[in-house]
Amino acid sequence: MAIATDTAGLPPSSPTPSPIVVRNDRRTDDKVFRGTVRAAGLGSLVLLFFIGLFLVLRGLPALHIMGWRFFTTSGYQTLGAHPSFGVEASLYGSVVVALVALAVGVPIAITTALFLSEYAPPWSRRTLIALVDLAAAVPSVIYGLWGFFELQPNIVGFSSWMSHHLAFIPIFKVVSPPVTASLFIAGLVVGIMIVPIIASVSREVFSLAPPGEREGALALGATRFQMIRSVVLPFGRGGMIGAIMLGLGRALGETIAVAIILGETFAISPHILQHGGTTIASLIAIHFPSGGPHGIADLLMCGFVLFLLTMVINLAASAIVNRSRSGAGVEL
């Protein structure tokens, strides 16, 4: 029997069927499995939420007492009739230490990352990368120890020099010596500590730069540095920024090394070369949980500020890296 065809010689088409819905009824043990791991995952969410919640709840009394002046007051007078405390000085200290740390750490870290990805002989690369990772593993209390006993005595000469010759810049002025236990020295130690983090992520990012573009630059007669400047660094810009922000977050949160250097000082000054100064993290480490109920509330509120700050920086760093050209293959 002949089959009817349309003008093109094909059998007439029936209306396109709609796709069937594939049902994947899971077995019970799979349901349990999926539920369990999902609970674990959501548990992290719950944990994070609780951390923030408790810090705020128990820290709220501080805001009740001080109001918005919490953010503009320094000091830690938590006992007595007229308590006066605030996060201003310690926030300033945290930021200063972090900035000094970045100023010192970023150049060293980027050059190290470039060395590892571009200059190191292939046979040595694995060992050197392992060593840089080891530098990240060394506990911060040991860096603090080293900074206090070894770095500080050798740097005070340099601090004095800076305070003499750069006194026209206000923050470098030293109004009341000595120059030990300063935010500057703390920043130096933290700077050394954040180098491995920044270097590691940057190195990863640099090594992902497309080989085709590298060869293109070299074939045009570029020197290695010119090739790096025109191919590797532009490609790795997003990843580098993310890495630097990670270092910033770490520098803001560094507690023990800073506390060892700065010590239990109550002198709080904006001059970074002279002694005195405090960061939020070291303030909490040294004074918690003394200071009575106000003290605890104050420190918890300060802690919440720090928590929020580092969380925002970390999330921003992650977003920047993921959206950049270089970040696609890198995990932050």
Binding site: R38, L47, F50, V132, P139, R214, G249
Partner: protein, 399 residues
Amino acid sequence: MSTTTLSPPPLGAAPVTPIRPPSPVRPRDFGMKDAALLALSALSALALVWVVFYQLTLLSGAFGFLVCWYAVFLAMYWLASAQMVDRMAASDRVVTVAVVTGAAVVIGLLLFVVLWVSFKAVPHFSWHLLTKDQKFFQILGPHALSSVGVAHAVVGTLEQVGMAALIGVPVAVATAVFLNEVGGRGTRLVRTVVTAMSGTPSVIAGVFIYSILIINHVLGYSGFAAALALFVLLLPLVTRTTEEVLRVVPSGLREASLALGASEWRTVWSVVLPTARSGVITAVLLGVARAAGETAPLLFTAFGSQVMNYNVFSHPQGALPLVVWSNVRQAEPVLVTLAFEAAFVLLVIVLVLFVAARVLGRTRTRGRRRGRTGNGRLFHRNAQPVPIDLPIDIGGNYR
């Protein structure tokens, strides 16, 4: 127009003696003359800065000298190179020096710190430091150091970190399995949360446990509280590194297992996790090493102790970082020495964990490429495959 033909020799001719191929070389742009230039620049910069420093100005200090020398050295090297080769090559050379310096500083400082702690601690080290605690410590006695030890701290650290790992590793691995294997709703949210948590300062973790459990006396100062605080720190780190490890497991294995009729659960348990086992062990060890070195969370949870306390659930417990922290700024030299000994023991523990992590992470991955030019190769054709480590790094916030 030349015609070169490698045709087989005509029949009957005498056998041709094989010509030995010439020896291979790698062309180098940096020869003896260039090395000499580098050395000369360094020396003349040294001489110049020496004169300026000690004869002419009031600059002082070893550090300042070093900085000045380095700056003058780079400038001189550039000027001298620009005479010998063109300006681009001179800049390239100076940058090479700077880059090598950066790496040398990092590695040098690391070795400096490790060796410095060791040199300060080893001369006073004896085995009783690992067996005694501070109960019978006579600070002012003549043999003060021999009456004290850090055994309580070692026990404390091991118990706290061990417990934190005990609680933390299953949760972290489960979360990583959720993110990588199960997925679905909430994946992006959980991943964001884990990223956010990994930036949490360690002191916040301690403060959190204090304010949620200790302040209202649910828990007293104890090793367990410290373990909880360390768990908070451990969780994001181990989750992320484990997730990376699971991602490397080839999807073909999962598909094969499912095709054989295994449930998802059995696939993960019997196929994926065993394949990734060494990587997971590495991730765990790195997390543990990191946790062992943390001090701040212990301040308000374990609180520290001077006597042995095996009970992790009640009473304050000591820990190695706490011993360092409480003794570092003391006036008595013997206390400072104690701090150094504790630091040394802590360093050894962390180093052992780190090395174990790397060694265990390497054994299973020989020859497995990750498809990236991780070691900077520009072009792969004909090159030998290089064993590439699993992408595990230590540290809080990066892979």
